[in-house]
């Protein structure tokens, strides 16, 4: 009897009014969570809720950026004159180098435009772009994302390519009123159509998460690819503007038991270090894909007759 007195009850006595039991509440909210996860994964109906909460939370996010910004500005203040001067010289030299390159590329662009006009191509060569800066990296260890600043006047649209000074970083996936979410090409869900600069071989670059380098998938084992090849974006399917540097081909493994080569790639862009980025407008709409059903039907008919 005495042991009963010393042991503590788990719940307070029933005559205190406390609403539904904790377990009932957990069940209710658990079911609600699963419903949310299901709806979020299968349909896009929750984007509105997500956007409104994100806008409310935005000031808090800005607040959290303050300490980092303060440290940065102090560092910038103490950066010595010498460092600035050497950087200045360096930049001036680069500018000269680039000027030459630019002249060459402008001539090439004009050439290409002329050929295109001859061929009656409608695609424009240059793509409009908007600058932005990286606010912070995604904190979710399961996905490779970061967030960029968006001023109200900027018209970002989901799907636009995002690049930094050295290559393709990723794609805008969500556009909130004041920030936008970029999914990097290293994310597991990211797919980029590419073209090898040297010989025009087409392939698809798939991200593989934080632990492994992205890979070119479904490339035949005998395809003409060597380590060091440069992959450019391809405008196939109208997702990306063409000819953005994407990655360099790294280790290639050709196993006898496998029809496809395993090709690891190293992105050019600073997927973990980018600061200033450019958001490129989506390329002009391409005519829709012909309806596959109709094509299949005619094929069947032809076989039958």
């Amino acid at each position: 009897m005495l042991s009963n007195v010393t042991s503590l009850p788990k719940e307070p006595p029933r005559f205190f009014k406390r609403g539904p039991s904790t377990l009932a509440r957990l069940t209710f909210f658990g079911v609600a969570s699963f419903a949310l996860m299901f709806i979020d994964a299968k349909f896009q109906t929750l984007e509105f809720v997500r956007k409104s909460i994100a806008t409310v939370v935005y000031p808090v996010q800005q607040l959290a950026l303050l300490p980092g910004a303060a440290i940065e500005s102090t560092q910038a203040f103490f950066e010595t004159r010498d460092a600035l001067r050497t950087e200045n010289e360096e930049l001036r030299r680069q500018l000269l180098d680039n000027a030459q390159m630019e002249q060459a590329s402008r001539a090439a662009q004009l050439d290409a435009q002329r050929w295109r006009a001859l061929a009656g191509a409608t695609q424009t060569l240059t793509v409009k772009s908007q600058t932005s800066r990286v606010l912070y990296l995604g904190r979710d260890p399961y996905s490779q994302k970061f967030f960029i600043d968006r001023s109200v006047s900027q018209s970002f649209s989901p799907g636009s390519a995002v690049i930094d000074g050295s290559g393709l970083l990723g794609q805008l996936t969500r556009v909130h009123p004041l920030i936008a979410e970029v999914t990097l090409i290293t994310d597991k869900d990211s797919v980029v159509p590419i073209r090898i600069e040297r010989n025009g071989v087409r392939a698809i670059l798939r991200g593989r998460g934080p632990l492994s380098a992205p890979e070119l998938s479904f490339v035949a084992a005998n395809a003409d690819l060597v380590e060091g090849d440069v992959a450019l974006s391809s405008s196939i399917d109208g997702m990306f503007p063409a000819n953005i540097r994407v990655c360099r081909v790294g280790k290639i493994t050709r196993a006898r038991e496998n029809d496809f080569a395993k090709i690891e790639c190293l992105p050019f862009a600073g997927v973990t270090s980018a600061e200033d980025v450019l958001v490129l407008d989506r390329p002009a709409e391409i005519p829709p894909r012909p309806v596959e059903e109709a094509a299949a039907k005619t094929a069947v008919k032809r076989k039958g007759s």
Binding site: L8, A32, V57, Q61, G68, R139, Y142, L211, T272
Partner: protein, 178 residues
């Protein structure tokens, strides 16, 4: 044995001590600050080592004040986390709701232990929370993350004694502290 420095800031009440009731605004402000602290723009190793302040403060109040901060509050906090982390809606909501539930279930028991033994309970609860998220993510087809992300549970656990002492400070009767 592990001992905290002997200052009034680092002392916590024994289970038989009587504390002043906490103020609701203090609870809400600490939760808000913890949420903001989670948003600090860290990356790489610093991010892996960062304690989950939000979960920790939520857990503290769920243990000490389960009538205010319970399953519903945990669920809502998780939802906020899901939005700012831009991932699957509802995964942290579920994880934090479970965290709050287990805190409410264990709160009478946890408080009878000295701080460092409380930390062990906290370690278990936070680890379980992270595993819930891991399972949900892998089920939804995410790539396995860098195992370093588990370090945040360890750092959160180490923070628990100092955090409890700090959060309890305004509740202690002055004459008892001295």
């Amino acid at each position: 044995m592990f001992r905290l420095p002997d200052s009034p800031l680092m002392k916590v009440a024994r289970p038989e001590d009587i504390l002043l009731p906490p103020k609701l605004w203090f609870v809400l402000i600490t939760l808000f600050v913890a949420f903001a602290a989670n948003l600090l723009p860290l990356s790489g190793m610093a991010l892996a080592l960062r304690p989950d302040f939000f979960a920790l403060v939520l857990l503290y109040w769920a243990i000490h004040q389960p009538r205010w901060i319970g399953v519903a509050a945990g669920w809502f906090c998780g939802l906020l986390t899901d939005v700012v982390e831009a991932n699957l809606f509802g995964q942290h909501a579920l994880a934090y709701a479970i965290l709050a539930f287990s805190a409410e279930y264990f709160h009478r028991r946890v408080l009878r232990f000295p701080l460092w033994q409380q930390s062990l309970h906290v370690f278990g609860l936070l680890l379980f929370t992270q595993i819930v998220v891991l399972v949900l993510r892998l089920m939804s087809g995410a790539a396995p993350p860098n195992p370093m992300f588990l370090l945040s549970t360890v750092s959160s656990t180490l923070l628990w004694p100092a955090l409890s002492a700090f959060l309890q400070w305004p509740q202690r009767v002055r004459s008892l502290v001295d």
